[in-house]
């Protein structure tokens, strides 16, 4: 900063530490809860320090799940989540790259119509048109399938918009140079545009993976078979037990497990993540 005031600096550090504490506290308590035996939750307020049932609770969750919630092992749910998140991320990136390329690098009749058809979807989150979308998927026989979990979610315009913005920043001279070098449209896409988009693709992948992993309402609606449960919606199945307190120790172990992959991705790929976030601007 401009001037050196130690007091202000200490204050800044203090506020930031307090902020981290506030942000991390719910997570810590979840972890603590996941380390106690079920009886501990009957005897009043949860302690602030972890207990000794870490292994028991996590292995129960991973391999068996909760009876009351259909007894789906969390391991299977995480596998389903992974498949769904990967399918959404990869699918979105693939179709968005192609359509953004068409819209930016070609002139053809109906171009603006296509453009707007795609961009209207920017405006319609799945939650808004949930019932009719559900009917379409049901009519197509895609309930309880990975295709049903992922395909309806891969056509958001966000990624298309990002790639369009990026393509517009690629200098025109590169296309001209490529044309003079004799490269046709597909060759230019493969040899020049794709390599140049590498970091954008990676950044977007991080964001979309998290987006896919954290889907909630959609899997909740279209999976009635336990074997297609994803972990985020599975937690709801675990806490929504009628007339009794949830089995907090397993629920929280599951919650922690559900958070590990996306949080790991965010922290491990922080630079790409921040870039993807700031550039998609949602």
């Amino acid at each position: 900063m401009v001037e050196n005031r130690p007091l202000v600096t200490y204050l800044s550090h203090g506020i930031l530490l307090a902020g981290i504490l506030v942000v991390a506290f719910p997570l810590w308590m979840a972890f603590v809860a996941s380390t106690y035996p079920p009886e501990a939750f009957n005897t009043g307020v949860l302690p602030l320090w972890p207990g000794d049932h870490f292994w028991e609770n996590y292995s129960t969750a991973l391999s068996a799940g909760l009876q009351a919630a259909g007894g789906v092992p969390v391991g299977l749910m995480m596998l389903n989540s992974t498949v769904m998140a990967l399918a959404i991320a990869i699918g979105k990136i693939a179709i968005s790259l192609l359509s953004a390329y068409a819209v930016v690098y070609f002139r053809f009749p109906g171009r603006m119509l296509c453009f707007w058809t795609i961009f209207v979807t920017l405006m319609l989150p799945v939650e808004v048109r949930i019932l009719p979308t559900f009917e379409v998927v049901a009519d197509l026989g895609m309930l309880n399938s990975y295709a049903g979990l992922s395909i309806p979610l891969i056509a958001s315009a966000t990624a298309t918009f990002l790639f369009r913005q990026f393509f517009l920043t690629v200098p025109d001279e590169l296309v001209e140079a490529a044309r003079i070098d004799g490269a046709g449209p597909l060759r230019f896409f493969k040899d020049v545009l794709m390599p140049l988009s590498r970091t954008n693709i990676a950044a977007l992948f991080v964001i979309l993976f998290i987006y896919g992993w954290n889907q909630y309402l959609w899997p909740l609606l279209i999976t009635t078979e336990e074997s297609f449960y994803t972990v985020v919606m599975g937690i709801q199945r675990m806490v929504a037990v009628p007339d009794s307190e949830p089995q907090w120790h397993v629920v929280m172990a599951t919650a922690i497990l559900a958070m590990i992959p996306p949080v790991f991705v965010v922290i491990a790929m922080q630079r790409l993540f921040v870039r993807g976030l700031v550039e998609t601007e949602k």
Binding site: I15, Y105, V128, I130, V175, N214, V263
Partner: protein
């Protein structure tokens, strides 16, 4: 913005667009038009007959006290979430922008909640405020407040606000930090030479220059609070107690899937779509403007 140079090809662009257009039409445009269509129809309770009722579903909707209540809840909820998470995020961002030592570590430790699913965030805060075992509930009890979000609508609303705002802090923090770092150092230094202290510099220089970011985040946060918080609410309070936490998007879901009132649910979808479209247009204009810089 347009490209000066383009390729010419008769069918390739259509082929490239095909996957996205197909999915958009089948899963977006068609359902959305179905919602529009159903919003002017009414089915009898057994689903046997359907009649065209014009705008009646909308009229009913806006004379339905539970719907109007839901509107009110949504507005309070969204503004509270936006204010709370943006306020906290701005504070942290300003501090993180100040410190030199440990800035990266602070950043890392503040951004991870972004990765937490809204539903999971809701469950975490539920545990924290659980009336019998929750730490925060116990603290409040010590202070003489009997917290119970299963019974008290205000408590329930506060719970989902806290959980939703908590998750969104990371996002806002990153954007504020980026906004702050984009402010030229020389402006701050000029103000300092002019004799402005840190607080004055913030309110007269930094905050006004940050206003595009703030405006953008306001829109994003409202959109977030309107739609993405479905998971928080569904996993914790299920819209209750009573209708205390039934925001609009939750009501679309509960009237459609639980109440099976298709006409009303469709009409609600249409209202929500109009709101999203309005918000998106605002946001879109903002993005386009930025791109032209």
């Amino acid at each position: 913005m347009e490209k000066r140079v383009v390729f010419r090809h008769a069918w390739l662009p259509y082929l490239l667009l095909l996957p996205q257009l197909a999915i958009t039409l089948v899963f977006f445009i068609w359902p959305a038009s179905q919602a529009l269509y159903q919003s002017v129809l009414r089915q009898d309770p057994f689903g046997l007959r359907t009649a065209f009722v014009g705008l009646q579903n909308f009229e009913r909707l806006f004379s339905d006290p539970t719907y109007l209540n839901s509107f009110q809840v949504t507005v309070v909820f969204s503004l509270a979430v936006a204010a709370l998470s943006m306020g906290a995020a701005l504070l942290f961002a300003v501090m993180a922008d100040r410190v030199i030592r440990g800035a990266m570590a602070y950043k890392t430790l503040l951004i991870w909640p972004y990765a937490v699913a809204p539903a999971v965030a809701g469950v975490l805060w539920w545990l924290l405020f659980n009336p019998t075992i929750g730490f925060m509930a116990a603290v409040l009890d010590r202070l003489g407040y009997d917290w119970n979000h299963f019974v008290d609508g205000g408590d329930a609303l506060l719970l989902v606000i806290l959980a939703s705002a908590w998750k969104q802090i990371s996002y806002n923090f990153l954007f504020f930090l980026a906004g702050l770092q984009a402010i030229p150092r020389s402006l701050i230094e000029a103000a300092a030479i002019d004799g402005a202290g840190p607080a004055r510099r913030f309110w007269t220089i930094v905050f006004p220059l940050l206003s595009p970011t703030t405006f953008f985040l306001l829109v994003v946060n409202v959109v977030y609070a309107f739609f993405d918080t479905f998971g928080v609410i569904h996993a914790t309070t299920s819209g209750g107690p009573g209708q205390a936490t039934t925001i609009l998007v939750y009501k679309v879901f509960s009237d459609g899937f639980i109440g099976l009132n298709l006409g009303s649910s469709a009409a609600q979808s249409v209202v929500l779509m109009s709101i999203v479209i309005a918000l998106t247009v605002i946001q879109f204009r903002y993005i386009e403007r930025r791109v032209h810089y």
